[in-house]
């Protein structure tokens, strides 16, 4: 199902996404919703584990960021921001410790969606039951992007991973807050459009730097996309054309900027030094 089709849903975008997945097979519908509830539980569990520990990752580059932010004073009067960022990093630091996470759509970008969706829900005191259908929509948005490009840093750069996760999260948050199908898809589209060009450059090839902080930033990015869409702002360029644009930028990226650990942040003097140290 394309983004345009999702945007044209007569009712909730998530209802159309669900119908597209399972038709009117009731037991398949129940199974899918059960899986989504299970995914939510796993997301929450990974957030809780991540916020509670400062155990370093295998390289020692990350591991304590989520907890430190979570415990820090809210100096900006932006509790939502802090919550979303901390949740996102909690998941990715778990990931970096080889803990259990839910890929969304990938492991490197696993923090963005739960950061934004659970962060907003907890900030507003919403129940996890309200998150199931937004999660169904997020999955459909991911599928629509995946149909046009490989979602992997090694083929499309980080824009493909983090971009897709932010788009999924933006749509989910918009739906959670009562946005129309059109608004959900445009939230996703604006999130994508403003991630185009992001390269994949993990230091030493480890999914830690910049990945952990990147999830914090792009979960906020998703929330701001939702805010724009809920206010009625939209993307001038149609959603599926934006995906196409991202795919073609991905093809233009040289291999150094696609998860080989040989360009961008990974290729800095310090990045290389760390990589060397780790290789020994």
């Amino acid at each position: 199902m394309t983004l345009a089709e999702l945007a044209a849903a007569p009712g909730r975008a998530s209802e159309l996404a669900l119908a597209d997945e399972v038709g009117d097979d009731r037991s398949a519908r129940e199974r899918l919703l059960r899986t989504m509830r299970e995914r939510l539980r796993e997301m929450r569990a990974s957030i809780e584990r991540g916020l509670a520990t400062d155990a370093p990752s295998r390289t020692g580059m990350v591991g304590w960021n989520a907890k430190r932010l979570w415990k820090a004073d809210d100096v900006l009067g932006a509790a939502l921001l802090r919550r979303v960022q901390a949740y996102a990093m909690a998941v990715n630091e778990e990931n970096a410790r080889m803990g259990r996470i839910v890929a969304a759509p990938t492991a490197g970008s696993a923090g963005t969606l739960p950061g934004a969706l659970l962060g907003v829900a907890d900030h507003l005191g919403l129940d996890d039951d309200a998150l199931v259908m937004p999660l169904v929509l997020a999955a459909a948005v991911g599928d629509a992007i995946q149909a046009k490009m490989f979602i992997a840093g090694s083929t499309g750069g980080c824009q493909a991973e983090i971009g897709a996760s932010a788009a999924m999260a933006a749509a989910a948050v918009t739906e959670l807050l009562g946005g129309s199908a059109h608004a959900c898809v445009h939230a996703a589209t604006m999130a994508l459009m403003n991630t185009i060009g992001l390269v994949c450059d993990p230091v030493g090839g480890y999914v830690e730097v910049p990945c952990v902080s990147r999830n914090a930033f792009y979960s906020v990015h998703a929330v701001s996309s939702a805010q724009l869409a809920l206010a009625g702002l939209e993307s001038v360029i149609p959603p599926d054309e934006v995906v196409q644009a991202m795919a073609s930028v991905g093809r233009l990226l040289p291999p150094e900027l696609r998860e080989t650990g040989e360009g961008g942040i990974a290729a800095t003097e310090t990045g290389r030094r760390i990589a060397l140290k780790m290789a020994r």
Binding site: T35, M36, E38, R39, E42, T59, E94, N95, A96, R97, M98, G99, R100, I101, V102, A103, A104, P105, T106, A107, G108, A110, L113, L135, A138, A139, V141, G142, D143, I145, Q146, F150, I151, A152, G153, S154, T155, G156, A160, E161, A164, M168, P202, G204, G205, Y206, V207, E208, P255, R258, E259, T260, G261, E262, M278, A279
Partner: protein, 231 residues
């Protein structure tokens, strides 16, 4: 695209790698005792960073991508008597996350090559040197046979009689009249009697039924089955 639940740190380099190895594991009847893993492209460059090496080992041991033993898969391999040998090579014009897996036990030696496409999706494109096309999203049947008229039809017939639905079918031969490999993705596992029947079809030398590996449910040992013929 929400899921799988997995052990980090990378869906393509950890979960995908684990699934490729899991598929490879199931092309053998008994567990492998030796494995040579040749990593290509991004797999080669960042194998250790993303845990690709341990994930591959885990898959060869039959572990699913959410198995908590993935980080300690090397120890598990040692305990299970599986010898691992990692190398790097340019496998040609293939996806950047690709690996060639050569497996060995007392009865068999074979090769499986595939790519991790991102988000945990995979594609196996070579088994025993023959071109195949498997996604792991279905149960799949591999059949090595003589390139003779009617063999494909007979296999399709058995699948239909067992009420299996063919999702994809790929067939490739080395040369006209020589050996050929069919790879068929089916929406459910063929019954044992159907597999036994196929074993006795003339011109069929070898077949394997591989489990679906994308749902996240660990396949049990019994779901690998097949036969070793003359080839």
């Amino acid at each position: 695209m929400v899921g799988p639940v997995m052990v980090g740190p990378s869906s393509s380099h950890t979960a995908g790698a684990c699934r490729l190895a899991l598929l490879a594991r199931h092309t053998l009847l008994a567990p492998p005792t030796r494995a040579r893993l040749t990593l290509h492209g991004s797999f080669a460059k960042t194998a250790h960073g993303h845990g690709t090496d341990v994930a591959l080992a885990a898959g060869l041991l039959g572990f699913a991508p959410d198995d908590p033993r993935i980080p300690v898969a090397f120890d598990e391999a040692r305990a299970a008597g599986l010898e691992l040998d990692f190398g790097m090579a340019d496998l040609g014009d293939v996806h950047p996350n690709s690996v060639r897996i050569e497996l060995e036990n007392d009865d068999e030696t074979l090769e499986v090559t595939g790519s991790s496409l991102g988000g945990g999706l995979v594609r196996v494109f070579s088994v025993r040197g023959f071109e195949v096309n498997l996604s792991g999203a279905y149960h799949s049947l591999l059949v090595l046979h003589d390139d003779k008229p009617g063999v494909i039809a007979r296999v399709a017939r058995v699948i239909a009689d067992d009420e299996g639905n063919v999702a994809t079918l790929h067939s490739a031969r080395r040369k006209r009249g020589g050996l050929a490999m069919m790879s068929i993705e089916i929406d459910r596992r063929l019954a044992q009697y159907a597999l036994d029947y196929l074993t006795h079809v003339p011109y069929i030398h070898w077949l394997r039924m591989l489990p679906e590996v994308l749902s996240g449910e660990a396949p049990d040992e019994a779901s690998t089955s097949g036969t070793e013929g003359s080839a």
